[in-house]
């Protein structure tokens, strides 16, 4: 019988939640990597038992962990991420030039076809790839060589590359997002990149329509339609129907279009989910009601999903990596909160159940559908 595995990265460790295809009873395993921040864990589509985890803390720096048995055992692999010089600087908060420095890995994106190939998004913003299961890493230097990098500036948290999307129809095309620069696309397997931010409007930069400077929080696509991208920006929910060449706002009737996480239904490419957050300074849901909003029309028209979610006194946030979907039928949706709760829905969001609670603040949720 098929099942689901939910990989949970938290501020202090990681957990793995498993269930059968009914998704009503969940088992929690862990904690793994106790005492370490787990920014992200993700499994390979090519081999679901191959998992990778980004393990970091401020005392000891970065480790990358790999599992070959679905998360039962782990082994550390390579943690040498070299940012070559000669690219110049980026601009710090105070306007002074900042030298690029590797700090940590925010996002891991396994190849769609090869379990030993994996991409890693770093802070400071850079993209790396390993083709030997994480032992050795090489930077895509062309990204930081982009003409706009001297105008990239950090957000309050970091200047990091937090999103990597691989086009399932075109192995030479992938998308990345940088906080707080925007979205970039390569069509030649990472050699060259172009900023794809036309249509984004950001009132917090001098020129709201600038080529770069946009605080993109998350981007997702449906694998059957990789030219359609959905974005949760700092403010605004956006979509692109031409692989990012241009964007249009689809916030519609959302109570707030600020938020971090966004995802797409596994079987309905126009059904998308967000968790509205009140504002950039008040990182909790409007009216303290935890509501997922669903649009079945690719944006514009949104409906609140509340059954099983707390509708009072909720002051938790849902971070950019903390939402995922399974590919069972009906589609399952999952998200984790900074309050340490994991919620799941086995019916496309109509009803929700609490599947884990009292965990450390949750950084990331990734979902694997198992045969």
């Amino acid at each position: 019988m098929s099942g689901v595995r939910v990989l949970v990265g938290t501020q202090k460790c990681a957990f793995v939640l498993t269930s059968d295809g009914k998704r009503q009873r969940w088992e929690l395993s862990g904690p793994h990597f106790v005492g370490w921040e787990i920014y992200h864990l993700k499994g390979s589509i090519a081999d679901p038992n191959r998992l990778y985890a980004s393990q970091y803390n401020s005392w000891f720096g970065q480790l990358i962990q790999r599992s070959n048995d679905g998360g039962e055992t782990w082994e550390p692999v390579g943690n040498r991420f070299v940012l070559e010089g000669g690219i110049g600087n980026y601009e710090g908060y105070d306007g002074t030039p900042q030298a690029w420095e590797f700090k940590r890995i925010w996002h891991l994106e396994p190849s769609l076809t090869d379990p030993d190939t994996i991409y890693a998004g770093a802070e400071d913003a850079a993209l790396f790839r390993s083709t030997d299961g994480g032992q050795n890493w090489e930077e895509f230097r062309g990204l930081r060589a982009h003409h706009s990098t001297r105008r990239w500036q950090p957000g309050r948290t970091a200047m990091c590359l937090h999103t990597v999307l691989l086009d399932p129809n075109n192995a030479r095309r992938f998308f990345i997002a940088v906080m707080a620069a925007g979205v970039f696309r390569t069509d030649d397997a990472g050699e060259t990149w172009r900023a794809i931010n036309r249509g984004l409007k950001s009132q917090y930069i001098a020129d709201p329509n600038a080529e770069v400077g946009h605080c993109v929080h998350s981007i997702k696509m449906h694998p059957r339609r990789p030219h359609v991208l959905f974005m949760q920006k700092h403010w605004d929910v956006m979509r692109s129907d031409n692989a990012g060449d241009s964007w249009q706002e689809v916030s519609g009737n959302l109570p707030s279009d600020f938020g971090f996480a966004i995802d797409v239904h596994a079987h309905e490419p126009e059904t998308i989910y967000v968790v509205p957050i009140k504002s950039e300074s008040e990182h909790f849901p409007p009216e303290a009601k935890l509501r997922v909003y669903r649009s079945r029309t690719g944006g514009y028209d949104w409906e609140p999903l509340t059954k099983g979610l707390p509708q009072n006194d909720c002051y938790a946030n849902v971070l950019r990596e903390a939402m995922g979907v399974d590919s069972l039928d009906p589609c399952g949706i999952y998200f984790g909160t900074t309050g340490g709760e994991v919620y799941g829905s086995a019916d496309g969001g109509d009803t929700w159940m609490l599947i884990a609670q009292r965990l450390p603040p949750i950084h990331s949720i990734e979902v694997q559908t198992l045969p």
Binding site: V34, W36, W59
Partner: protein, 98 residues
């Protein structure tokens, strides 16, 4: 033998106790101790010092014989009591709370 005491958090990685013994070829210095440690426990590569710049992680300190050796030159000789194994070299992680 050099005796090195590591922060408890690293024990889960090395799968040994907090104190490890290291055989050093030549003079005992911070660099030679860290080289020997990383050779004996490859999982620790890059955790006590940045793997590229080789700089000590800023939230770690090296103490021995009631002295703070953290900012000594990497190639400065360690105290004789450490080199002989009488006293341990201690890696301390900054305290944190909250």
């Amino acid at each position: 033998m050099i005796r090195l005491i590591l922060p408890g958090q690293l024990c889960a990685l090395t799968r040994v106790g907090t104190e490890v013994e290291l055989r050093i070829e030549g003079q005992a210095t911070l660099r030679s101790v860290l080289d020997a440690l990383e050779a004996q426990y490859p999982v620790l590569r890059g955790l006590l010092r940045d793997p590229v710049s080789q700089r000590r992680r800023p939230l770690l300190r090296f103490f021995a014989c009631q002295e703070d050796l953290s900012n000594e030159l990497l190639d400065a000789p360690l105290p004789q009591a450490v080199a002989s194994g009488t006293e341990p070299l201690i890696v301390i992680a900054a305290i944190a709370g909250g």
